[in-house]
């Protein structure tokens, strides 16, 4: 096999080439359900955005197997430094759609208190899904540092960090790969190579023969995986995670996949990606690919896509309705959490903002007496 040929497990007939993923029937069905959940969540957010009820979203269609396959290798005690296109990782680990919707609406129940744009999730439970920031690549060194800390304490915790093909051009990628290599840090670098950084194709990003090969220069093994093949992603990520837990250091995994939509709801990909490319990738749909495997395993009856999608539509619409009904965060949340303790100058600015809102009569419900 050529180094640039991606690792595949599920063949065209749904066979797994003898690979045992080590997942129970229930877990396999959970993978399937999670991929469908991502898609339904996406559809719902697109409708919410198009009807002006939320401002923004990030489509995940086409990337579900990469997200969910990788998520199956993570333990609840691990650290996940996700990108903004990783809904499946959150949902797989039991983060509730309604909690994600609170963020989409930027409401008072949002963990980030409405301070961030939609899609910038932060969760501590049931897995450490670290607060997402918008700058590209800055979170990679954090994963290395968190992994270093875990290793220092003798834990077998792994830090997973997910980023796109564009992210490999960032300063953070270089710093993180270099430090992780030197420190043998237990990190799994997950490069979600969907071929496009907004509108910039890979040839505008790198002259390298692949993204995975970049690991070589840092002493970090690189693996290329078919990102639309959930079991191939699981296999590669699980192996990398096990090596990291055993003290073998970091791995760079390039998951080759395709974004079946725009970069975001503000982007029109038909301007720069030819229709034939979409058509070709549609045939490689990761959910259909996994369905073949479920059929081959005799799990198809239990899968029942139409029923699951119906349930999910109901659940996620309900989540959206619930989140929409929650009001905006109170004014005090502009000033809280800047520091552990509110400094005097912020107290004064907060008081002035509150007094003005009250004087001019535009205080919102929930503003209350400035409490900080």
């Amino acid at each position: 096999m050529k180094a640039t040929e991606p690792l595949q497990v599920i063949d065209s007939k749904g066979g797994a080439n003898g690979y045992d993923p080590g997942l129970s029937e229930e877990e396999l069905l959970h993978c399937y359900r999670t991929m469908l959940k991502v898609r339904v969540f996406d559809e719902t957010c697109l409708k919410l955005q198009r009807s002006g009820r939320i401002g923004f979203s990030i489509p995940n269609e086409g990337i579900e197997a990469t997200q969910v396959g990788a998520a199956t290798a993570m333990r609840k005690t691990d650290w996940l430094f996700a990108s903004y296109r990783d809904f499946g990782m959150a949902l797989y680990h039991g983060i509730q759609p309604v909690d994600m919707m609170h963020n989409m609406f930027g409401n008072a129940a949002d963990n980030s208190r409405g301070r961030q744009m939609p899609v910038h999730f932060t969760f501590l439970e049931p897995i450490r899904f670290v607060s997402i920031s918008s700058p590209i690549g800055t979170h990679l060194p954090h994963a290395v540092g968190a992994a270093f800390a875990a290793k220092r304490r003798g834990e077998d915790t792994v830090a997973f960090v997910s980023f796109g093909d564009g992210g490999t051009s960032s300063l953070g990628f270089h710093s993180a790969m270099n430090f992780a290599g030197v420190w043998k840090a237990p990190v799994v670098f997950l490069c979600q190579n969907n071929g496009w950084a907004i509108s910039c194709p890979s040839e505008d990003q790198t002259a390298s023969e692949s993204y995975a090969i970049k690991g070589k220069a840092y002493g970090v093994p690189g693996v290329i995986v078919d990102g639309n093949d959930l079991l191939a992603v699981r296999k590669a990520v699980l192996e990398a995670a096990e090596r990291a837990r055993a003290g073998g250091g970091p791995t760079l995994i390039e998951c080759k996949t395709f974004r079946m939509g725009g970069h975001s709801t503000s982007d029109d990909p038909t301007k720069y990606i030819p229709k034939e490319v979409f058509d070709a990738w549609r045939k490689k749909d990761p959910i259909l690919r996994f369905e073949k495997y479920l059929k081959a395993c005799g799990l198809w009856k239990k899968a029942d896509r139409a029923r699951i999608e119906g349930e999910l539509r109901e659940e996620i619409s309900e989540a959206a309705r619930t989140a929409e009904a929650v009001g905006p965060p109170p004014l005090e949340t502009i000033f809280s959490d800047v520091y552990a303790e509110l400094p005097k100058h912020l107290r004064a600015q907060g008081q002035a903002a509150f007094d003005l809102a009250r004087r001019k009569g535009d205080a919102m419900a929930g503003d209350g007496e400035f409490p900080l």
Partner: protein, 324 residues
């Protein structure tokens, strides 16, 4: 008590906190066996091992970025940036990440790290070993910016910074590393962040300063006193969050103010002090605020003694505001 230089006091603070708290880790370029280019971390590797005080690859972005991750996951990293002039690759990590993590995660994730770095002129370091970049960082909510000027404060403030739950940029005046000596208590003590220090009492003029400008202002104040101008000197020592009330009280007490810093004037920290006084104490003022600062130029090498505010320039400003 021991009589220490400022750099020895920094080393003492690191030593004291590393001994008390096994989560404290020191990282940076050459901080290991060499003990740092200024020897701030001397002997820490010998005493605490390479796991606790270690060299990193030559990458400021990597040093601060990984230190943020360590801080998120329970360690107390004290990262050294060899010269403040080289901190800019890490600017994104400091401004976009460390300073915003608590806010954007609603307190779920925090980055209580300390970044120590020598700043300022006076060592013939030219453009890239002399700058005072405090203003860039003081414009960053979520960050604390601390600058000591005495050995006593260097140790007490650094221990406070390490124990603080928020990210702290600790700027060390390299010109004073070995130029000042003073009594430093043994063991653990802290100097509260966000407090100022009255260096010298006086009722005619207040000089606000920090870092390496404190001894300069002190000498200028002595010279002014010889001419009958009773000059108060305030060491701001924590620029962010600033003790605004203490600044305003001092400004009101004399009605005449001089602000001194090495950094360029335009949008420098002196502008903030001037604006604060204009907004809240204008009715007490007997003279316009005078700023004595570096010029709005890059930092020169051979002529640095003309660039840096000295006793002569500060005294001149004191005289101007006193006789306005």
């Amino acid at each position: 008590m021991s009589n220490l230089t400022l750099i020895q006091a920094v080393n003492d603070a690191l030593h004291t906190t590393m001994q008390a708290d096994p989560s404290v880790h020191v990282l940076g370029e050459d901080v290991g066996k060499k003990g740092g280019v200024f020897l701030a971390t001397e002997n820490l590797t010998n005493e605490f091992g390479e796991e606790r005080c270690f060299n990193t690859p030559l990458s400021e972005d990597g040093i601060v970025g990984t230190a943020i991750g360590m801080a998120m996951n329970g360690l107390k990293p004290v990262a050294e940036i060899q010269f403040q002039d080289f901190i800019f690759p890490a600017f994104d990590q400091i401004v976009s990440e460390a300073a915003k993590l608590r806010y954007r995660s609603g307190g779920q994730y925090t980055a209580p790290l300390v970044i120590r770095t020598p700043y300022g002129g006076g060592i013939r370091g030219g453009l890239y070993h002399s700058q005072s970049g405090e203003a860039y960082f003081c414009h960053t909510p979520g960050l604390k910016v601390v600058i000591p000027s005495t050995p006593h404060d260097a140790k007490g403030l650094l221990i406070s910074a390490i124990e603080d739950p928020d990210p702290v940029l600790f700027l060390e005046p390299k010109a004073l590393y070995r130029a000042v000596k003073g009594e430093v208590p043994e063991g653990h003590y802290t100097v509260d962040l966000s407090t100022v220090r009255e260096v010298r009492a006086g009722k005619d003029v207040t000089v606000f300063c920090y870092g390496a400008m404190v001894p300069v202002a002190e000498k200028a104040a002595e010279a002014a006193a010889a001419q009958g101008i009773d000059t108060r000197v305030i060491d701001l020592r924590t620029l962010l969050p600033l003790d605004e009330e203490a600044v305003l009280d001092a400004a009101r007490s004399t009605g005449r103010v001089v602000v001194v810093h090495e950094a360029p004037r335009f949008c420098g920290f002196g502008a903030e002090i001037s604006a604060l006084i204009a907004e809240h104490a204008i009715e007490y003022m007997e003279a316009p605020v005078a700023r004595v600062t570096g010029f709005d130029t890059p930092f020169p090498n051979t002529l640095e003694h003309h660039y840096l505010p000295d006793q002569r320039r500060v005294l001149d400003a004191i005289e101007r505001v006193a006789h306005y």
